[in-house]
């Protein structure tokens, strides 16, 4: 293996390595950190973020960004809870349909008008939250999950882990294949790496972009619905600032914000890292809220710097 390959592996797995280090250090420092209960809570709570982050990974690799996911997450939850009164199918299809539609529209606007994804999805962030407030009586109405099958989907467990974890694992594997082993995945990398060249190489740029945002919308809606199932209600105060967490996870995972490079493994590691950091802060148990923030900021900075240094060799060639 030559130097290029070594550094490529590091670039892709820098986040995995940082994650390993943090987990080991955490286990040594706190007795109650490496317990099954704690691990389960980190994994379960990370799964929703991970589902959204998978979509975001595609978006960012394609050279775009999706700020609307936090709002779509909460909208998906409200719609899922609302739809659950008509049964499991509606509870799942309604959020997927609406959030997918929003993603599709954003994708169309981005692909057809050439407007910056940042601004289109920022409008999405506002508009979708407005829509959520409109259907929930300015946030005052919380729909409760009526359908037991739907609730079971969010909370039912196999081997201590709830269904959303398995759904996340399945989606991650599917996303890896999609990204690495299909023409669509190649097109995503190509337009993120050099959109103009991709167009000249015959990549259907517009269509690929539309799919990418559609996917991101669908996954954010799905995550919202599953979360509503878990919480048994369509909580309306969720998802504020969530987009930044998701983007941070993806970028820590080694995906370049400029597009063209990155992968699912890194993203999943990035999501887990964020979860583990929070959990470590909770372990300390006596930090004031202000100090907790300082510590998470420092941690985040350390992690990105470590990840950056690990992948430095790659960048310089």
């Amino acid at each position: 293996m030559n130097r290029g390959q070594v550094s490529r592996v590091l670039q892709q797995h820098g986040a995995v390595m940082v994650l390993a280090v943090v987990v080991i250090v955490g286990s040594l420092a706190f007795d109650s950190f490496a317990t099954p209960g704690n691990a389960v809570s980190v994994v379960v709570s990370s799964s929703f973020l991970a589902i959204i982050a998978i979509g975001m990974t595609f978006v960012i690799i394609s050279g775009g960004i999706d700020l609307s996911v936090g709002s779509l997450f909460v909208l998906g939850g409200v719609l899922g809870a609302y739809g659950s009164q008509y049964g499991l199918v509606v509870a799942l299809l309604l959020p997927l349909a609406v959030c997918g539609l929003v993603g599709l529209l954003q994708g169309l606007v981005i692909a057809r008008t050439g407007m910056a994804p940042f601004i289109v999805t920022l409008a999405g962030l506002l508009g979708v939250r407005g829509l959520m407030l409109a259907i929930s009586d300015e946030g005052a109405t919380t729909y409760l999950v009526k359908d037991p099958a739907f609730a079971e989907l969010g909370r039912g467990q196999v081997l201590e882990l709830s269904y959303p974890v398995y759904i996340t694992i399945a989606l991650s594997l599917a996303a890896m294949v999609l990204l690495q082993r299909t023409g669509f995945g190649q097109n995503v990398y190509a337009i993120g790496g050099n959109e103009q060249a991709a167009a000249l190489m015959g990549v259907p740029v517009a269509r690929t972009k539309v799919y990418v945002y559609l996917m991101s919308g669908l996954l954010a809606g799905l995550a919202g619905a599953l979360n509503a199932a878990r919480l048994s209600s369509g909580v309306t105060i969720l998802g504020i600032g969530l987009e930044l967490d998701v983007i941070a996870a993806v970028v820590i995972g080694g995906t370049l914000l400029t597009g063209g490079a990155g992968g699912i493994t890194g993203t999943v590691a990035g999501v887990l890292l964020l979860g583990v950091i929070q959990s470590l802060i909770n372990q300390v148990g006596n930090l004031t809220s202000a100090f907790q923030q300082v510590v998470s900021g420092l941690f985040l900075a350390l992690v990105v710097v470590a990840q950056r240094l690990l992948s430095k060799a790659q960048r310089l060639t």
Binding site: S32, T35, G37, N38, V40, S41, V42, V44, S45, F48, L133, S136, E138, G139, A140, T142, L144, A151, R155, N227, R230, L231, S232, S233, V235, T236, I237, L238, I240, G241, G275, Q278, S279, N282, Q283, G285, N286, T288, S289, A290, Q292, Q293
Partner: protein, 333 residues
Amino acid sequence: KSEEPQSAPAATGTAGQQVVQTPSGTAGPTCTLEQFGGTKFDLKTATVGFSQSEKEANPFRIAETKSIRDEAAELGIKDLKVTNAQSQFSKQITDVQQLIAQGVQLLVIAPLNSDGWEPVLQQAAAKKIPIITVDRKINAKPCSDYLTFIGSDFYEQGKRAADRMIDALGGKGKVAILLGAPGNNVTTERTNGFKDRVKEKAPGITISFEQTGEFAREKGQQVTEQLIQSNPDINGIYAENDEMALGAVTALKGAGKEPGDIKIVSVDGTRSAVQAIADGWLHAVIESNPRFGPLAFETAQKFLDGEAIPDKVIISDRDYDTTNAKDSLGEAY
């Protein structure tokens, strides 16, 4: 060397202590250790978890967390674990789950939201961990999902604010509402209580403006600036917390208004707000008492001792107005 005229409230001692409104046992069902199905343990040596919902950066949350910590120290509880959800509901769920994973035996939760606690309740019930929620309710079954709720009645607070406003305006005029953060239970209930009461008692009062000030002073100031500019005929402002009310005061001062030109009523009872009453800028403040520590641990101890605990403990909140503001400054938080 810092100019810090009035931070760090020295609210120790018993001044401003919470008082239970309804004598316990009168209303609703009760709960005993036996009914709940738990086992007795010694509070002093137990691991206790407190999950705070928002940053300790406003007087209410500061006083709330401090009261819990102080009382725990007072009682000699050694292992108190405190988490803070930084206003993110998902984080609060995870926080509590991690507290459970760390082996807490009693949970005190200041919920960010009333709904959505299913996963936590499930886990706590499995381990028979009693949960006391403070300040905000959880929509679930007392005595099976959780033990009890201690706090104020926000709807009632809204109604009482309306009474004060109706008084101040003599039953007619135009009123604006500075709403809290959208989607928040507190916002919803304080709004509904106010509106219902006005509709019922004073049809002469119209609510001609309602915009969110997100519970923050700056936002309250900005919205009020827009409001008085385009609706100069407004007579009263109902602010759903003190911070927004004080922001409104700054806006009124900036627009050259005099104290009392526009009647402001708000909810919370922070020291600055009570001072503003004394200065004539606020008309009245409905208190929402954050000092949950003593009552929470007292309830827990009673429960462990086998006493019957009511399904909700509503505390009696006081009012501040010009008649008592000056004298009550020491009790405000």
